[in-house]
Subunit: 338 residues, 4 copies
């Protein structure tokens, strides 16, 4: 941590900074320039120390953190890439894992049609929403427990593991009895009560990026899960909020290489929620695989025109089947397979 | 809702849109231009209908919503401005209400010093955090229930009502037994489980704006509270995330006049979390009052240098006292008082 | 264009809107709902009409434009994809065109080494900056005319066409005598004097996206070039400004499929300026090709450690050569070649 | 400047950083921590040194600049606040200066009505556009030289100085013969050719903030003007681009106190372009004065309904007159006058 003193700061002010640092067991090195004094604070946990502790002291101009605030999710903490096991399917290895299915579980017929379609096309994991966080209280909120039962039935019938979202900290245990992997949605990335409970469950967790959160904040949120002893966490980029209005969210494609460098956790991409329109999904899915993503999360509906939620961004089964063909050639081009 | 058909859309495609609209009891008017056909869908609840229902139909180019997705929070729903009663203090009337106190309750001594100071300076409501949502799991998380007890003690001693944040849907009832008003924080603006529970409590609620949410999404989230029958909701602007890095969040000052036009709910401003630095708080607080805010939420600490949380953005009691003097002259200049 | 009248707007107010529209030769259709009246204005050029003309009229609540403000750049105006000819190299065909070279021309030796390297690796066009728009007046501003002469020399020696930036409207003619294609940079996307002059030149133009401009604004800026009779325009996505701070600019990968749908112009991607760091360039370049880009603009320096400008984002020749190998397999996977 | 070495960086890599710094006459201090080495580079001009020079060196993890890249515009360079003289009117003193008039000069009658109105209401400077940078080439581009002549005529008739925009570097001299102060618009904030020429003119300059530029970039652009020897520069905040869509641009009200702290230049605010709607202008204008702005730039039209440009954001003369009354009370409340 670097504390820059104001021009003309007194010796006493510099001394108070040094004193404070020493009470926190930090090493201190003074850099006395012609213009101003800069104090370097060194220690193994300076990433977790609040900058304000020094910024409020008299004579301090600014405090710059050199170390990142996250720790357990960092590549420095764990050099080897983590492979997550979701019901026997490995995420983060050579194989690119495609998770597909409807945005919301609507009925047994709809779900089974979707799962049969995506399985035939080569998907490895079923996705489907039972609890739907909706921006308006007047919208369809999901089948809830009934939806979980249908997902479990689909797993048994088609032999693919299931990932589904949990929105309430008190539902974690219940959802974990039905699903092979829990998903924490974008709007809940900083719902710390939910993170803590999900961290305690035995299931792996997909942590979607908050749509207005930096990668640093995202990895710090992952630390909440990892701090509970869990190491089975998958990061999912799903688009960030920007000024551009031709799509719902701007897919931050550079998040893939940035995360591969900064973290040991596997990274998947959800092109459906970013695009908001089925016609844009294939290009974005292909870009994600080319950029190095370990998997994809894609919405597929047997009949998008009748979908209760997000029909516009859902691929039909035939569109998805065609996309999977294209993705296989891209995966091969980057030395992987689907 | 306006459905624009693609150039060259067939009669059958237009017919399917019309048919769908009729099954939803909407009035339909066709506008057949030389270039393309535009279908207007009219009805009193088109704001709550999902645009995708029409956007997925063949031949549709785009769907534009004219009506807003929120309803109960809108000025159209309720013309008269709502006045919220927080333990006898009226928010939304002629008086500008200042809520002040420490970011986090740290100890009895700290809280009592802060409350005495802000009361003497003219604050009307005590603010203080017992449950702290922190970005890192390694940071101080608040005194929790012990903090609530201290807040209740401060209320009894100084005779000012208390507002405090609730972060877990299952804590709503407990927090409501100690506090006069509940606060829902920025990171929880779209935590729908929390909104629904808070909506059911007897207490008024301050709903802070999600730092990356539009005003439309904010008012739609307010609908979650209002849908439970509550009409005692205060909106709090606290800064939005932008590219500017000289402050923590960019205070959206225009939210004040925009909300006054679009909604009947009172609007307050939190300059402390936006600024992130005490030296910027006074200018932003004065701007908020001049722009028409009904109140302010300001962090004050008896000794900012020793604060456990957000010390850098906290005013000292003497700074706060001086600011209150200035705010009184601004309030008077806009025909109000503090 | 859709004009929504306020609830309770009078007949006279509706009449004034209709009257205004008629003086502009627009077709008008009235949609009188139970709640409010909506007026649809139809005509072939409603995209170019200022919304404010109607928004200022009494009784008007809002005006929504259905047609896009751009015209000549739109896919509706020209169905067939445009192929741009840059000194014999075709941009927008089956072949993916890689333009590579140093950010700034620094010396003859540096430029020739770079060009020899990128040519050997398979680049089709030389890029190199002679006029450098720099954020600080104290930074190196480019070799200017001397740089142009060196670029022309490199073209003659290596037989590859040259693209270079022009920053001053009065330099267009001079730059056009040296370069095969002009580049308009991100900070000048809405420099209308420059656009108009560049539109008049005989050379094709690469129009980089303004880093805070929407795709709609970008295509409207392209209309400035096209309005001068030029149809040889290439669009270049180079990242947009967002809150994310792990990279310089967030590459908007979805711009590629969005532009392919909305416009007939070829689309290339500059991963170097978005990334700001060489280690991120390969993943982003591969993503761009997978997403359907017609070309790439990549910074390559024979010795990045000694570069005067943007060394950190420049690839070395060996890194670039390796990347070209990888790009070839991706290009093949999407049915194209380099 | 702080250079953080990678964990495990070799002595030779650290040595190369030190060596490089010494060739640039910088003082170096090594901070050898248990985890990693941090090199502090000290000198009076480290703000102007390109970070990449060190970031490209082997073994370097990151480079953090402590000093700001701007210099001449900084409060450190000049402690005393600058007062700008525009035709005898002082900007940056105790008096708050209101510049008002039409967005575009349309005709002699329109201009004279506007100027008479704003003068009567208490405006000190005439604003009016002769050259209009428009996003679409099919929109009205301003009366150009004819507009300048009318502005000069208005100055002679009403005795108020004139500020008007210059968009082309080659027009600077011509515009300067008619106007008392030049304005550089938001889209040209980083048009360095224009900045350099305007810096050479004898006239004071209003530099509007680029709508997607940070305050640091803005002050660095001001350095372009100041580097030419001019010290008569006024900064104008006019809203930044964010995700919020209820207004055109989000007015960054905190820019006022941030600039007052970082720079010696006067700061004015343009609420009209930020708001995009006349009904929001008064609240934003009052907020700006309360926050400490030295002046306002407000669009006023004698008949907004007939305006050729931006009618929706223009105040009528009666609205402006009423607003001036309110602004006077706010100015008084902050110890100033209009």
């Amino acid at each position: 941590m670097i504390v820059e003193m104001r021009k003309g700061a007194t010796k006493e002010e510099v001394g108070a900074v040094v004193q404070k640092a020493k009470t926190m067991d930090l090493d201190v090195q003074l850099n006395i320039g012609t213009d101003k004094t800069v104090v370097a604070l060194l220690g193994s946990n300076t990433g977790q120390i609040d900058k304000d502790i020094f910024a409020v002291l008299p004579g301090v101009e600014s405090v710059t953190r050199i170390m990142k605030p996250y720790k357990l999710a960092s590549r420095e903490f764990r050099k080897k890439s983590t492979v997550v096991d979701c019901g026997g399917v490995k995420i983060g290895g050579e194989r690119i894992i495609v998770m597909a299915g409807p945005c919301a579980v609507e009925s047994e017929e709809q779900l089974m049609q979707a799962v049969e379609g995506v399985k035939n096309a080569g998907a490895s994991i079923i996705r489907g929403g039972a609890f739907k966080p909706r921006t308006s209280p007047f919208s369809f909120q999901g089948l809830q427990k009934k939806g979980l039962e249908l997902l479990a039935k689909a797993r048994d019938k088609y032999g693919l593991p299931v990932v589904t979202e949990v929105v309430d900290p008190y539902d974690v245990e219940m959802v974990a009895t039905y699903a092979d992997m829990l998903q924490i949605g974008s709007r809940n990335m900083q719902n710390f009560a939910l993170l803590t409970n999900a961290g305690k469950s035995q299931r792996p967790v997909v942590l979607k990026r908050g749509f207005a959160c930096t990668i640093t904040e995202w990895l710090t949120a992952a630390d909440y899960l990892l701090a509970e002893g869990k190491n089975q966490v998958v990061l999912c980029e799903r688009g960030i909020r920007t000024f551009e209005d031709s799509i719902r969210f701007s897919l931050d494609i550079s998040a893939v290489p940035v995360l591969k460098k900064s973290s040991h956790l596997p990274v998947i991409v959800d092109p459906s929620h970013a695009a908001g329109h089925y016609s844009l999904v294939p290009a974005m899915a292909k870009a994600a695989v080319a950029a190095g993503a370990d998997g994809l999360l894609i919405e597929v509906h047997p009949n998008p025109k009748e979908a209760l939620v997000d029909g516009l961004q859902s691929l039909s089964i035939s569109d998805f089947t065609r996309l999977m063909e294209e993705l296989r050639t891209i995966a091969k081009a980057v030395g992987r397979y689907i």
